[in-house]
């Protein structure tokens, strides 16, 4: 099972990506998908600007995906992350995990997201609607704790 990792500016389609992952497979019994979206922060956010480290972003998510594949019996795994300017309501990240039974897919998707948030080289900058100072989003302690539980 070769994990799929894509870092792209363009949007992605959940149904199309899931369809591609399960194509031709008859042994998949469970698919878990996680979509991370851009919130409007109660109407105050105009857009997010996501910066990334080209090359390392792919490499690091690839390493995390390989780790997930070694820890759970997966039949498919995909991780997509966007960069650039993203508007409220748009997709940011997609994780798809497929396995014979649901527990492996749930756990692998959760593990991949927890690690991605603390180890994949992406940084979010907020642009506010009222034009006031934009700022870098601060890392959350709770994300470190979430990654620590694995």
């Amino acid at each position: 099972m070769q994990p799929i990792v894509r870092i792209q500016r363009e949007d992605f389609d959940l149904a199309a990506e899931t369809g591609r992952l399960r194509e031709g497979s008859r042994d998949i019994g469970a698919i878990v998908t996680f979509s991370g979206l851009c919130r409007d922060e109660a109407g105050t956010l105009a857009a997010l600007e996501i910066e990334h480290y080209p090359g390392m972003a792919e490499a690091e998510i690839g390493r995390i995906a390989e780790e997930a594949a070694s820890r759970w019996p997966l039949l498919g795994l995909a991780a997509l992350h966007r960069y650039g300017r993203i508007l409220p309501g748009e997709n940011i990240v997609l994780v798809i995990a497929a396995s014979s039974h649901r527990q492996a897919a749930f756990e692998a998707a959760s593990f991949l997201m927890d690690y991605l948030k603390t180890r994949a080289p992406f940084w979010k900058k907020q642009h506010l609607r009222d034009g006031s100072a934009s700022g870098w989003v601060e890392a959350r302690e709770t994300d470190e704790e979430a990654a620590g539980r694995w």
């Binding site: 996501i50 910066e51 480290y53 992350h81 940084w123 890392a139």
Partner: protein, 88 residues
């Protein structure tokens, strides 16, 4: 230890405060670890001092792999400095 040429890359507020996205530098012989590198860079100017004033807040990757501040710089071609990550 001889002088070594490396590419430094900066991201997010580290990039903004230093005022550069990347640069090529020659590391003096005494710079053996990531910690040494951060201290040496702090002395290069006000932007560097501002960006790196809390060294513990800076994450570092060597050749596109995360490393702790105690890591050595042998074999480093590309060293990236950045804040804690906020993707996902």
């Amino acid at each position: 230890m001889t002088d070594r040429a490396v590419k430094l890359i900066y991201f997010a507020w580290v990039r903004e405060r230093i005022g550069l996205a990347e640069e090529h530098v020659t590391l003096p012989g005494g710079i053996a670890t990531v910690r040494d590198l951060l201290a040496w860079l702090q002395a290069r100017g006000d932007g560097y001092a501002e960006a790196l004033k809390v060294p513990e807040a800076i994450r570092v990757a060597i050749n596109q792999d995360h490393v702790p501040h105690g890591a050595g710089l042998d074999g480093a071609r590309e060293i990236a400095l950045f804040p804690p990550m906020t993707g996902g």
